[in-house]
Symmetry: C5
């Protein structure tokens, strides 16, 4: 469970609820089912129309990815692990690490080192891992774009809903007392759209992008480590190069 996603979302919605309570008119004026239908339903409809069916299926996995703890370890641990494996291979040969590799949880690490165990040559290993990485980059990019799109669409549907409401109100000005509530209802769709865009799609989009970036950096470290091991570079060299990434120059 990724605590910051959960806490951020919960706190954000909670603060909006608090602001409504403190506003003194209760939740009543903020709830309007037709407004909810046009914004949420419209956003779903437009998104369904914009994307291919196989992209839409990634909505739930993407949500899970945003809410789950990232599976890649921090860079220092990763570098340590790679150095450990490199040393093991140098000392006892590549077969020695086979069982350990099977227990790895970082999937890209596992796959890269299984290829090492299988004796894959560096000139096959590197382009293959790069290709995997590139396709993962594409898939993640599509997921991130999906949520960015949802945010934008929710805003647009909110504006459309407000225009629909304003036209209804203006066409029917006979009762001045009804103007205020009618206008309040008209504004609700804009509010719903902004809430979905900021407190749902925006958070998920950004969190996915952060996790993706961390995963890509880690994968590149794994890739360069695996490549150096496959090329049978010295442990000293492997250590020095991997550590260059870590040494945080005090900023």
């Amino acid at each position: 469970m990724d605590k910051s996603t959960v806490v951020g979302l919960a706190a954000g919605w909670g603060l909006v609820a608090l602001a409504i309570i403190l506003g003194g008119v209760g939740f009543g004026p903020y709830i309007d089912v037709p407004s909810f239908i046009i914004v949420v339903g419209g956003t779903i409809a437009v998104t369904a129309g914009q994307f291919e069916a196989n992209e839409l299926k990634r909505f739930v996995p993407a949500l899970k990815y945003a809410f789950n703890e990232i599976k890649v370890e921090p860079l220092p641990e990763l570098v340590e692990k790679i150095t450990f494996y490199a040393t093991e291979i140098k000392k006892h040969g590549v077969m020695q690490i086979e069982r350990k590799v099977l227990e790895e949880k970082n999937p890209f690490f596992k796959e890269s080192f299984q290829l090492l165990v299988d004796g894959t040559k560096p000139d096959v290993l590197v382009p293959m891992l790069e290709l995997k990485n590139e396709h993962m980059d594409n898939r993640h990019g599509a997921m991130i774009a999906l949520f960015g799109n949802i945010g934008g669409t929710a805003g647009a549907m909110g504006m459309i809903g407000t225009l629909v409401g304003l036209v209804a109100m203006l066409a029917n000005l006979s009762d001045p007392a009804a103007v205020g509530p009618a206008m309040a209802v008209a504004l609700l769709t804009t509010m719903y759209g902004a809430l979905i865009g900021t407190l749902f799609a925006g958070i998920i989009e950004s969190k996915l992008a952060q996790k993706h970036k961390a995963e890509m950096v880690a994968n590149e470290v794994v890739l360069s480590g695996a490549a150096m091991i496959a090329a049978e570079e010295s442990i000293g060299n492997i250590k020095m190069k991997l550590n260059a990434i870590l040494v945080e120059i005090p900023e």
Copy 2:
């Protein structure tokens, strides 16, 4: 027929209709022929002015492309097919696949493998397929841009229409009772523009972009497969490299 495009469009417009019905003033106040003419006609006029005649002719094919099922198979099937052809060629020679290739429906696949049947050398095959791909990329990009442009223009014409309506209303304030309906009419063009931008041009633009991306990825797989076959790489290598794309690392 691409179900998600149809369902998305139908549901989107249906929800707007529902919102209007639930608004309680009927469809009457939402229909204004002059407003419709200035937004739709203006968008058509500006688009005609912005693009060359031969780009404009692509409007209908582009719409069809957005509504039709994409012709390229999912990557796993594509990889399987390429591996199958590669094995056939190794076993029985390139002539053996000629008839099968003629029955292919994926046009880029068909063309690539016909070039293989014709015995095209890899150093001619690869740049030629890349050039084809690049020109297809250009043509698709122009179609996608056309719809992006239509969405933006509809919004701008909607705003111009609203300004025209507001000036008329403000210049003629003698009858306060007429202000509401006049303002409602003025807002209609903005609403029409937003609807065209979100529920038509935006959906088509995004769907075209999605299909284009899927097609480009598939074409690159076909290209790399055909290149490996032309270069007479081993079936084992071809399989391994193509499968590297597929193995979905659990995310």
Copy 3:
């Protein structure tokens, strides 16, 4: 004469005129000379300040370029012509085409083939034509940016004009009857700005960009054709490579 530019512009302005007529208050309230001066004059002044004198001189040629029929032929005709010249040169020598080249209307084609007639070597020909192309790209890009800038500036001057008008109106609220017309006048500058941006600068900018793109693609085809002729490639090869661009894969 580029019909789509003319028709698009005429239809766009005609529809706005129609919308005004249908609005029922006549053209009167839409015409305000001071508003016109601040938007049009201000846009001219800002544009003059933003650009160098030699860029500003390109305004009229750029307008002509947008309104004139493009001088480059469609790609199929171009490919056919290059193949024809290549065959002539192979059969009768390069001098044979000299007179024909002089009659060419596509200027980049003419210049490229005159260099061939002059016996320019491929290693001089290609970089020189690429340099020419790059400088044309720069000049066209500057023209396109000029019109994009005009559109943005017109919008900004329109907003400034509206603010000037609103302040005048609000500072002088003593006569409520004057509020409506004063506000109408204030909105006129925003409307003028939007009209200039959408129905003039936007159309010209986009049309210039379309023509520029078509010209650049054609020039690249000419360049690659001339390079292949200079390198004395076989007619078969030249045909095959140039045709790869054309074969429209059914989309």
Copy 4:
């Protein structure tokens, strides 16, 4: 202490305070705790949801980086220092500079020259320093993006707060006298959001970007200097190349 950051921030907030005082209604109407909570709290919540915990931890160091004097010297001093070290190494050998290097304050300089002292070969030195630089670029880019995000989120939360306030006000129009103050409160969240975006996040984001750019340019100079020393180029060459950066062509 970076005076321009401090002075800019202080003067900006001071001017807003002055504008409020000159407005004649006192600070009272500008202070509303619920509005403050929804904007500041909401921005914190959304930011927490958008970023990974380890990115959020960089908030305080990034603030310090924005407020502290940059540790890299101006380019002329840097060039002079590199030339000095290069001369020392040529004259007395690399060990001679060891003690001086340990006293350096520019961390990238220190690290680069320690590698020189350790006798690192140019083909190891250059890629390692480039890798360090790239990872620093990533870390700084993430910090800058964090503040850009905060600015955008504050604006969005301000708009949501205003919508919440407007709905409350419109739903409760019975007392016309309350409309003004209620609307004032509704606008406060937008104002808070704009103030956070412009007078906090925007300043920090831009200042971080400026410092980062200066540091990257300096690091590149250090890197090229260290590379030339490691490659044992002549002092004359090192001087000439480094000085090419400095000579400010009078503009």
Copy 5:
């Protein structure tokens, strides 16, 4: 003196003054010292906070650069001059041009040809001039960004000022007669912000960008000319290559 900058600025501000005069309420309602202080002072404060002190010092030189006649000659004259120098060097040797070079006003030209006079080899000359060009590109880019930033900040401070004014007005609705003038004053900051953004920062930013682009193109021509002279290419070749840039293909 760059006439188009001066005329554009003067005409722009003059037209705004004219619009105010024609508005019939005089300059009075448009002048409000507190509004002026918050927008102009706030923009200065935020800009000071955003940039490093050494960037801020470039404000005045950048302004001068925008108002001064550009020092680089048009491309045809430049090409002619380079060809002249190349011929002189071929005929009389490199020392012959020394005195002439010292009198040159285009600083990049002067420096490049002084290096030629000093007998710098092409493999040192070209990277050094490229480095100089790159650093000039950076410095100019920073100046241009400074003015772009000022424009955006002025707009943001204008909006903040308007919000401050609106809150004051709404909190104090007791006197309806004061609403109009109070709102007028509130709008003034937005107007000031838009004026600074459009009629000052926008013009300077764009003019700097134009001059920078012209200078970079000229510098590249000088660089390629100097490189060809240093490489002792034939006058014929130098002429042909430099002229390729000039021949304006009729557009």
